[in-house]
């Protein structure tokens, strides 16, 4: 078990900077997700922690020790890969046993025929068998120990890969998009399994994914990476509710946050779509963006009007796409009660509370705002 510290990690391939100075400390026993759009450098960062890739500059410390120049296997980390990376010619048992055999048997003892004659090998093999069987039982793989990976389903292969990782009792687990090859149903199931595994092992988990839902549901903290930088690190709810950057706001949350063009007046009041929205800020007069999550849009009353262009009924909830004059893309609103869905094409009033608003400046940085104390709600409505 170990604390992992990254300081000022930089990496470039040829002329492209993949990582531009990443600082992150992962506490012992913590579950941290590195999340971001594809190509943001999150997998590269994980590979640098694993030792499969050399950083251009910066330092990685595992359990307080710098590990630069230490070989991947010596760092005592375990990694679960997207493609599972099981040895196709070995049975499930042998796949799980490989890390133990590599660690506990000498080269001579690993030789196919000669090794069998050595007395120590027999003893070690018996220990290994016990441990592999124990791990297999934990993961409900006992019935498949004799099979080859090709004869297993995706979820079973995934479990074998996890088994190969836990059997060596590493100081930390690294997951590189382990669920993206599974179908949607299995993915939700494996999400729960991995979260349970973390609770049971109490080990450090670093989990890379491009799926923000995975990151939100499993991890203690999420680290949002965009363009080779850590843009925000925090608890999932905090990142969701309080994004520091417009890219974080857009990336986290599904469906995406609504962004409306706005303007900050010289008195600090904020306007969007020609209406004051009861939010005040200290900033100078400038254009801004007004972000509101779909579930914070109140439909049925409010100062704005849109036309229903599409309705997505998910069963438990529904999303209404509203075409609003002045917006290039439809605005999304969540409706909790699917029995009262608006008709397609009908006009719908909507609004949002001042505390639902997240303001961003033109560069995408968050602007602190608060509800205007004595905001006079203008109730006039532009006739559409």
């Amino acid at each position: 078990m170990a604390r992992i510290e990254l300081s000022a990690i930089r990496k470039s391939f040829d002329t492209t900077d993949v990582l531009r100075g990443v600082d992150l400390t992962i506490e012992d026993g913590e579950f941290v997700s590195l999340v971001g759009p594809s190509g943001c450098g999150k997998s590269t960062l994980l590979r640098i922690i694993a030792g499969l890739e050399q950083q251009g500059s910066g330092e990685v410390r595992i359990g307080g020790e710098p590990v630069d120049g230490v070989r991947p296997s010596q760092r005592n980390l375990a990694m679960v890969f997207q493609s599972y990376a099981l040895y196709p010619h070995l049975s499930v048992f042998d796949n799980i046993a490989v890390p133990l055999r590599m660690k506990r048997l000498t080269t001579l003892e690993r030789l196919p025929l000669l090794g069998r004659l050595l007395p120590n090998r027999y003893r070690v093999e018996r220990e290994i068998r016990q441990e592999v069987e124990h791990v297999a039982a934990q993961l409900e793989l006992s019935a498949f120990l004799g099979r080859k990976p090709g004869q297993l389903s995706g979820g079973q292969r995934q479990r074998v890969a996890v088994g190969r990782a836990i059997v060596r009792r590493p100081v930390a687990f690294l997951f590189d998009e382990p669920l993206s090859n599974l179908d949607a149903k299995l993915r939700v199931h494996m999400r729960a399994e991995i979260a349970q595994l973390h609770r049971r092992l109490q080990a450090t988990f670093i989990y890379v994914t491009h799926d923000q839902a995975e990151a939100m549901t499993m991890s203690g903290r999420i680290a949002v990476m965009i363009g080779g930088e850590l843009v925000q690190v925090g608890r999932p709810a905090e990142v969701y509710d309080n994004p520091r950057d417009i890219r974080v706001a857009e990336f986290v949350g599904s469906p995406k946050i609504n962004l409306l063009p706005g303007q900050i007046r010289s008195d600090g009041a904020v306007e969007t779509l020609g209406q004051r929205i009861g939010v005040a800020t200290k900033g100078i007069a400038q254009p801004c963006r007004v972000g509101v999550r779909p579930e914070r849009i109140q439909v049925g009353s409010g100062p704005f009007v849109g036309h229903v262009v599409h309705v997505e009924n998910m069963g438990a909830e529904a999303f209404v796409h509203l075409g609003v004059e002045g917006l290039a893309t439809p605005l999304l609103a969540r409706i909790g009660d699917v029995r009262e869905l608006p008709m397609l094409g009908s006009a719908l009033r909507f609004g949002f509370a001042p505390d639902a608003v997240r303001l961003f400046d033109a560069a995408g940085k968050r602007i602190e705002a608060h509800a205007a104390p004595a905001a006079v709600r203008t109730l006039e409505v532009a006739s559409v």
């Binding site: 499969l52 375990a78 890969f81 990376a85 196709p88 890390p99 590599m102 190969r164």
Partner: protein, 278 residues
Amino acid sequence: MSRTIKLGAWPLLRHVVLLAGALVVLAPFIWMLSTASKPADEIYSSELHLIPHHFALWENLREAFAKADLWRYLLNGLIVTVSIFALQILIALPAAYALAKLRFLGRGPLFALVLFGILIPPQATAIPVFLLLHKLGALDSYAALVLPFTISVFGIFLMRQFFKTVPDDLIDAARMDGISEFGIVWRVMLPTAIPAVTAFGIFSVVAHWNDYFWPLIVLNSPQYYTPPLAVAHFRNAEAGTNYGPLMAAALVIIAPLVIAFLLAQRRFIEGITLTGLK
């Protein structure tokens, strides 16, 4: 079988053409089989007939084995082809792994050199290699038969193409598990590349079992003769060519390859198509 198969004019024509092609290819073999089964007087008779009047295959075989130490030549063939193949794999696999999966300076030019090496026919380098072996004093030995072929650029190329298709994750997983780079070649890459190795094995073994040119120029002593030289040896026998035993010996010499192919036919073709697809 109650189902009737209808043959249109076009499929019929196709089959006729294919059969004719097969016949052209098979004709020498059939003639060899026929000659090997005939007594001497029938071979030299003016009338042509395929089926011998008097079946003399056993006599011819007995004579062939009596005249020359055929077992010895077969053993030589086995020693030479197996040694060549083993050494080729020993060298080609690590080289191919490095060219396919490791990042190092000059990998591109090195691979270009490998490709260039494929373009050079073995006959072009025969004389320099011959002189080299002469200087080494290695002429007229097994070493002379094996050494020049241990580095197969074709093998390196073929294995490199196959290794390219092996996912990087698998190699990274092996590194995480503590397997060394050479360990990865033998314990991870080799088992996954069995189809490609098999395909390469067929090419290598067939080519060197049947090779006539190189053994002819480096060998003097009959005890190192490979099977094709042994057959030629029959032709040069002082009493004039005796075609019956000669053909019987040829039959013996191609037999191992034919039997091996028939036994492993499905695997062989699997291997070739696998490497072709990937």
